[in-house]
Symmetry: C2
């Protein structure tokens, strides 16, 4: 007998038929072994959130910012519809079920509409319903602030809801059901030999998520790590309850770890270069401060010390912030000198290898660099941490580089069978 | 400076363009004269409630009964969408506005899902928002019970929400904006000469509503009467704020009253006759008790004492209950005798004249009967109260009878100009 939180995303509940399919799946899990207590978290039916946002945008530009309180009132109805329909489907199959909206739980957040952060969850209501034998179906992505305003956690927030509920009720596992059946060594659409991982460590998953793997929302992984919630990724389209997906683990038995666990990438990048900058104290702060003031996130940064007291800054930003970043920098000419030169490239990509085994294995980074060199791929920027190495390359080489690295680190071979 | 509650129905907010139109109208009323405080109550966009019910019905039969709690969670999202969109439209036009769902008000109801009754409304939140200069937009039709379950008031319940809010905040008037511009002497689609009434008494309106005039939901009229809320029916499609619609009044200056104020009718009727019933004590209770046990409402009842200790019962039910009523009666043969005879007619209609002036004017009923007789219309059943006379006739004569009565009681002439 275990307590499970299961989260089903928008595609998994995208039609009445799929909702009925989820209901059958939930009942199978509920009755598995000597029975389980189940809390289900669901997203809006796929397409519904976009439909609602479309209505809002036909009234006001940027409703998310200009009417953020009402935006949350509007889009939170998407999940409310799904919880009601899933409960009906469960009840039709003879399973007692009850729905909870965010405010009914209550799931308390701060007051930042459209990007609220969870502050606390009162587990009392949910525990009482579970004790009564009911499946509890909770609307993902939404909460309520201290003034009883409806809030939402931002896109993808249903994963976070699942993990936070699992932490609050002390669940044995939070299961994220999605349209893939686990976490892969890399994107199977790019590398056919990509292999599903049975386990991945929390730290690795966090890197994979922040480096472009879209299986889990990064905040949900952070949350899981913070509260030590065992997290599992499973396919909502598999039949039965025998598939195990990928479990995110918290053990740290380094001897067991392979050098490299997975390869993540993102095309959503752009490179900006400011050259011929006078190398005076505070100039980096001036440049990066102006970028930060414009609400643009900077990822990788490289500074080259040149000659004649001049220096270069190169950094990466999200691709859709590129134009604004260049505009901001041009305005800086008045402050830091009219002779700076600004250039950039928005057709770059970031390619990363991730693995906790890197900590204790030297030579992983150099193996990566030489493999890319052998394929004729120029590395434009490098960034490393204890468990990952990221490089910026031309976007056109992304697939080639990913496949080459997947081969050289033998990711298609299960770790225990590697040389 | 007045405090107004304005209710806009599903047709008035049926599209983004219409919501924007309502926003302009609300702002006109807010700025009229030396300014008004405005609470707006809205329904779901027309078609939305049916879409949601369609989703539910594709999962479970009779969701309203079999999953009534979840049914309310589902359908209450319709109004939640409208309040958010209307607030966005108001904000875009520079008017501060804030939305309230039923639970946020809070509007407390009993726990009868899908047909809840309002128990109390806390005016504090709404008053605070009004004081801050905001237009408050409240989701109609919904509330919350003592256990924080979402409830709905049943179809048309948004009118009731409007009246109840007006009572709670002590509004000067509750204005029901609809697709007609007031209450008419009878349905203008049947009688072209039908005339809009400037005023109608509360008692008359209650009779008109219960006798088939669909301008206002009967519960909202009852509520208005109970709390003495001045109620006005207006068209949401009229331009400007100069039309006065029809005001429901509470004065009772009988000298001013015309004999007949309006004519109401309903086609939604069926007649059931049980003949040759042994006339023993309790037999009426047996027959009507069985009908009531099947949740069938009986409207008019006539009993004829026949010969040989035999009696006849004739009564009317809603047309869509007709088949079940006959089935129930057939089962009764075992109890009250196999020799009873059951017959009926589902092509009948009920035609009623309404007017508080009847109290002090004799001969109104006989004028009605003779007018119908002159047109060759047979009266099958009669029911009277102090301020109305209803007759059951063949449905095919309904238009003819309505026009004849409209003429004979001079309803096309304003009351002060009548002979």
């Amino acid at each position: 007998m275990a307590t499970l939180v299961q989260k089903y995303g928008g595609t998994s509940v995208g039609s009445v038929e799929r909702i009925e399919n989820v209901a059958r799946k939930v009942i199978e899990w509920k009755n598995k072994g000597d029975g389980n207590d189940i809390v289900v978290v669901v997203s809006a039916m796929s397409g519904e959130t976009n439909r609602l946002i479309g209505l809002a945008e036909s009234i006001i530009e940027n409703p998310e910012r200009k009417s953020s309180r009402e935006y949350d009132v509007l889009v939170s109805t998407g999940e409310q519809v799904t919880v009601a329909l899933l409960c009906m489907a469960l009840q039709k199959l003879g399973q007692e079920a009850i729905s909870y909206t965010g405010w009914q739980v209550p799931l308390r957040t701060d007051g930042s509409n459209s990007k609220a952060r969870i502050e606390s969850i009162d587990p009392e209501n949910l525990s009482r319903e579970l004790k009564a034998g009911k499946v509890v179906v909770v609307a993902g992505f939404q909460g309520v602030d201290d003034d009883n305003n409806i809030t939402t956690l931002g896109r993808g927030g249903s994963d976070t809801t699942g993990v936070a509920l699992a932490a609050a009720i002390g669940a044995d596992e939070c299961q994220i059901f999605t349209d893939v059946d686990g976490v892969y060594t890399t994107d199977p659409r790019v590398v056919k030999k990509a292999r599903r991982l049975n386990t991945i460590t929390f730290e690795e998953m966090l890197e994979m998520a922040s480096l472009g793997s879209k299986v889990l929302q990064i905040r949900s992984v952070e949350f899981a790590g913070k509260y030590n919630v065992p997290l599992r990724v499973l396919s909502s389209f598999d039949e039965g309850t025998d598939n195990h997906g990928t479990l995110i683990t918290y053990e740290d038995d380094e001897m067991e770890k392979p050098k490299v666990t997975g390869i993540a990438f993102t095309r959503d990048e752009a490179e900006v270069k400011v050259s011929n900058v006078k190398d005076t104290p505070g100039v980096a702060a001036t440049i990066l401060g102006a970028i930060a003031d414009a609400n643009i996130d900077v990822d990788m940064i490289v500074q080259n010390i040149g000659t004649d007291d001049r220096t270069d800054f190169t950094f990466t930003v999200k691709r859709n912030d590129y134009d604004e970043a260049v505009t901001v920098l041009n305005k800086l000419r008045e402050t830091i000198g009219d002779d700076i030169s600004i250039s950039g490239d928005s057709s770059i990509a970031k390619l990363s290898i991730v693995g906790v085994g890197m900590k204790s294995h030297v030579g992983v980074a150099s193996a990566m660099f030489s493999t890319l060199a052998k394929e004729g791929i120029n590395i434009r920027m490098i960034s490393t941490s204890e468990i990952k190495v990221s490089v910026v390359i031309d976007e056109k080489y992304l697939e080639l580089g990913t496949r080459a690295l997947h081969d050289v680190f033998e990711l298609e071979t299960p770790r225990e069978m590697r040389a």
